[in-house]
């Protein structure tokens, strides 16, 4: 019976080839426009660490000044903490794993091959960083825990940096100059397969400027490495001295802090600790604003930083409106097409076909139209994404610094492909429901009377 319905539906499409083709094209255009923009939005807000959403959190505290609220994030709390605060939270030792970090950069030079150098984006982190953010190792491993607190000049290279500087060879034990100071290579991280989405890159966006080297947090007091990330200074008139002393004791916010909790109780303990710490700091004249802090998982951090609200969010909304117009257009055309076929259906009804089987046949016809539109719409989406990739392509930087553009957002994933096809079917079924219902309810006698 189903194959019979399918044959009838297909025959009906073939009986009006031009009208059917135009409906398919119109729906495909709507699907293509929406899915192109949606793909970019979807990929740029992907969170590969979503499976840790219930245990991995970034801490924000409202350490801003009293005269105005912080305007850089949706929850009006800076993403960064001062060294003083971050170190206090780190010393609590409550979380199962935790990391303090900041973005830096500079020139890396292989000491035994001075012609091999590279300008890099780097990150200064504590040991747990690599576990927290699923960074795996090609050679070596993370530094010892003591490097988080003591000055141990070590470096971990990203696979691509190791490739450029050492032709991909095992570089463990080699020494490197970074900003004029010597570091020993203790590890090389493996480039993760697929998209390079780094949730830790709160500073610039998760798809931009991937880290090319890592340094242990314990070297911060040497003052050899400065921040390349935000350095937000709330009003504070205290004299903190100069240079590294001012950086370590002052109120400027430049470090991000992430923690992983093994259970909700541990998280609750940490929240109590943070609350009490802020209260204690208030007695010392810090934290002039109300006691506020937030532990947000990686997905929430995207929302807090407005990554999901860029121009492609807007274009996706317009694209959805466009698809709505195409679907309404399809409803009107299907209504016309089915009305033309009403006499034929009248004869089928008179010969014993039920209303349901007429309805099913019309709906199948809509599904066929939607399926075709989905395939063409998908081809259109892929073409449009390739054109956009070429348009947004920036010239590669000669100095080795990771590119600031993000071509990965133009590569759709399986989710996008499936959604395109499903959306096409759903849109066509929505378009076909009313015309099919209206046509199948037409009394057969009306058409049987006609010559």
């Amino acid at each position: 019976m189903f194959s019979y319905q399918c044959r009838l539906a297909w025959r009906s499409i073939k009986s009006t080839p031009v009208l059917s083709a135009l409906m398919v094209v119109a729906l495909a255009v709507g699907i293509g426009v929406f899915m192109t923009n949606y793909t970019i939005l979807h990929i740029s807000t992907l969170n590969p660490l979503s499976y840790k959403n219930d245990r991995l959190f970034m801490l924000q505290t409202d350490a801003w000044h009293l005269r105005e609220e912080y305007k850089g994030t949706r929850n009006t709390m800076p993403n960064q903490l001062s060294y003083r605060d971050a170190q206090a939270f780190f010393d609590s030792k409550i979380p199962q794993r935790q990391t303090i970090m900041f973005r830096t950069g500079g020139t890396l030079v292989a000491t035994d091959a001075p012609d091999h150098y590279q300008f890099v984006w780097a990150r200064v982190v504590t040991r747990d960083f690599f576990t927290l953010f699923d960074e795996t190792f090609l050679y070596g491993g993370p530094w010892e825990p003591s490097a988080d607190t003591q000055q141990q000049p070590q470096v971990i290279l990203a696979e691509e940096t190791n490739q450029r500087l050492f032709n991909g060879a095992n570089s463990l034990g080699k020494t490197m100059l970074f900003e004029g100071h010597t570091y020993t290579v203790v590890g090389v991280t493996r480039k993760s397969p697929g998209r390079q989405i780094k949730m830790q890159n709160v500073e610039l966006g998760t798809l931009k400027n991937p880290d090319q080297a890592y340094f242990p947090f314990g070297i911060v007091p040497t003052g050899h490495i400065g921040t390349w990330g935000p350095n937000l200074c709330p009003d504070d008139t205290r004299d903190y001295g100069q240079g590294i002393q001012k950086i370590l004791t002052g109120s400027c916010l430049w470090l991000t802090y992430w923690a992983e909790f093994s259970n909700p109780l541990q998280k609750q303990q940490f929240e109590t600790f943070v609350h009490d710490y802020i209260e204690q700091q208030k007695t010392l004249g810090f934290y002039p604003r109300p006691n506020r802090f937030a532990l947000s998982n990686a997905s929430d951090m995207q929302a807090v930083n407005g990554y999901s609200q860029g121009p492609f969010y807007l274009y996706s909304l317009f694209g959805f409106g466009f698809l709505g117009i195409c679907t309404l257009n399809c409803i009107a055309l299907l209504l016309a097409k089915f009305a033309r076929q009403a006499p034929e259906q009248g004869i089928r009804r008179a010969l014993g076909a039920s209303q349901g089987s007429i309805f099913a046949q019309f709906l199948l016809e809509s599904v066929f139209i939607g399926g075709l539109a989905g395939v063409i719409g998908l081809a259109g989406t892929l073409t449009a994404l390739e054109l956009l990739r070429a348009g947004y392509q920036l010239e590669p930087q000669q100095n080795g610094l990771a590119p600031t553009n993000f071509p990965e957002v133009f590569t759709p994933d399986l989710h996008v492909v499936m959604l395109t096809l499903a959306l096409a079917i759903v849109a066509s079924v929505c378009a076909g429901l009313y015309p099919a219902w209206r046509t199948c309810r037409t009394p057969p006698a009306l058409y049987l009377k006609q010559p």
Partner: protein, 404 residues
């Protein structure tokens, strides 16, 4: 006299189809208005020029690959040597690269001391004497930096600064001159000794926006990166100048230096290419939307007219001319489009107001833009109805007698 009565009755008879068409037209009007508004604003960015001698300018960043610090005396010697090279017009030390999309640190200036006074967010850029001539910025009033103004070690800070016109007005208003006034950079008092014309800037170099920039006569000797901005006499000479400067610096540092070359016209082009792609994307979307909406109007009008062929034939048999049938069809379509416009205009305005707020300082869509798009939608609706009207007007009157 227009056949308003018959037209309305005909429209009411197919109210569902009419409703669909009206919603399609209203939605497309709202999308048209707002995409056009974005397009107009992006186009301004794309068309605008930075007013810098982009093709003559090159920035060279120096990063020694050995533990070496370049002090001010050494950097000045480089600048002097570079200025002597053939084809070089000017050279200076600058902290930031012009027109590079670089989210550099934002700082604040105050016209009064104390943290409780209002602060103006600015971009500050350390420079050396000669920076203005190199950059090609005009000095509106005041004087340039001299060697005596320079603070050249990490324990010194500038005593003077030069600011852009927009920053001067933001600090002291349009009626008061900023020249000679003291402003506060943190706790440091600085005297404004010059005001330059406006320019796109370092941090967010959108050509349609001006940056509130403060130029400070400052050199930080502990920095691991230093940057020289060089202006060639002509665009053609720039390539040879770059080569000569690279050789000079490589020789000086015995090749233990990393040089990062940034051609300013390439940066400007990159900046605009992104806007250009967005621009093209919006244009293609609007063309496709036009195609879909015109197709919708055309196809639905054909369907309506086909359903009423006998009706047109009777009218023709009773004496209606082909022009009368044309008038009938175009009037029906015109009314459907007008209803769509009536519904779509408030929707477009509401969406536009929201977007304008979110994209400040973009102004909301002008009445001219709105009116133009309304007329375009009405015109394209009527054009879409031409083929159905032609077909309907050619209905033979004999069809009426054959079918009765």
């Amino acid at each position: 006299m227009l056949p308003i009565g018959p037209v309305f009755r005909a429209l009411i008879r197919r109210k569902f189809s009419l409703g669909l068409l009206v919603v399609q037209i209203s939605l497309s009007l709202a999308i048209y208005v707002n995409l056009s508004w974005i397009l107009v604003n992006l186009n301004e960015i794309f068309k605008a020029h930075s007013n810098l001698p982009e093709t003559q300018l090159v920035s060279i960043s120096l990063r020694p690959t050995t533990p070496t610090q370049i002090n001010y005396t050494e950097a000045t010697a480089h600048i002097q040597a570079i200025a002597q090279l053939p084809g070089v017009q000017n050279a200076a030390i600058v902290r930031w690269i012009p027109l590079r999309r670089w989210a550099g640190p934002g700082t604040e200036l105050r016209s009064q001391p104390g943290i409780d006074t209002p602060a103006i967010p600015i971009v500050d850029c350390s420079v050396s004497p000669g920076w203005r001539q190199t950059l090609g910025l005009k000095l509106i009033t005041g004087r340039d930096f001299t060697a005596e103004d320079m603070a050249t070690t990490s324990d010194q800070f500038s005593k003077t600064l030069i600011i852009t016109q927009t920053l001067a007005q933001a600090l002291f208003g349009k009626d008061e001159t900023a020249l000679g006034k003291t402003v506060f950079f943190g706790d440091n008092p600085l005297e404004i000794i010059g005001i330059t014309e406006d320019w796109p800037g370092f941090v967010l170099p959108y050509p349609d926006r001006v940056e509130k920039t403060a130029f400070l006569p400052l050199y930080t000797d502990v920095d691991s990166e230093h940057r020289y901005l060089i202006r060639a006499v002509t665009a053609e000479q720039r390539a040879s100048v770059v080569l000569a400067v690279k050789n000079l610096l490589n020789d000086h540092f015995h090749r233990k230096i990393m040089l990062d070359i940034a051609l300013i016209d390439v940066l400007a082009r990159e900046m605009k290419s992104v806007e250009y792609t967005r621009n093209q994307q919006l244009i293609i979307t609007m063309v496709l939307l036009s195609f879909v909406v015109m197709f919708a109007i055309c196809a639905q009008t054909i369907f309506w007219t086909n359903q009423r062929r006998k009706h047109f034939a009777i009218r023709r048999a009773l004496g209606a001319t082909q022009a009368d049938i044309w008038q009938l069809i175009l009037l029906e379509t015109g009314i459907a489009c007008s209803l769509g416009i009536l519904l779509g205009t408030p929707l477009a305005i509401v969406i536009n107001q929201y977007l304008a707020q979110a994209n400040a300082p973009w102004e909301p869509a002008s009445p001219l833009l709105l009116g133009g798009i309304i007329l375009a939608v009405l015109a394209s609706g009527l054009i879409s109805a031409l083929i159905p009207a032609l077909r309907a007007s050619q209905t033979p009157p004999g069809l009426a007698s054959r079918s009765v």
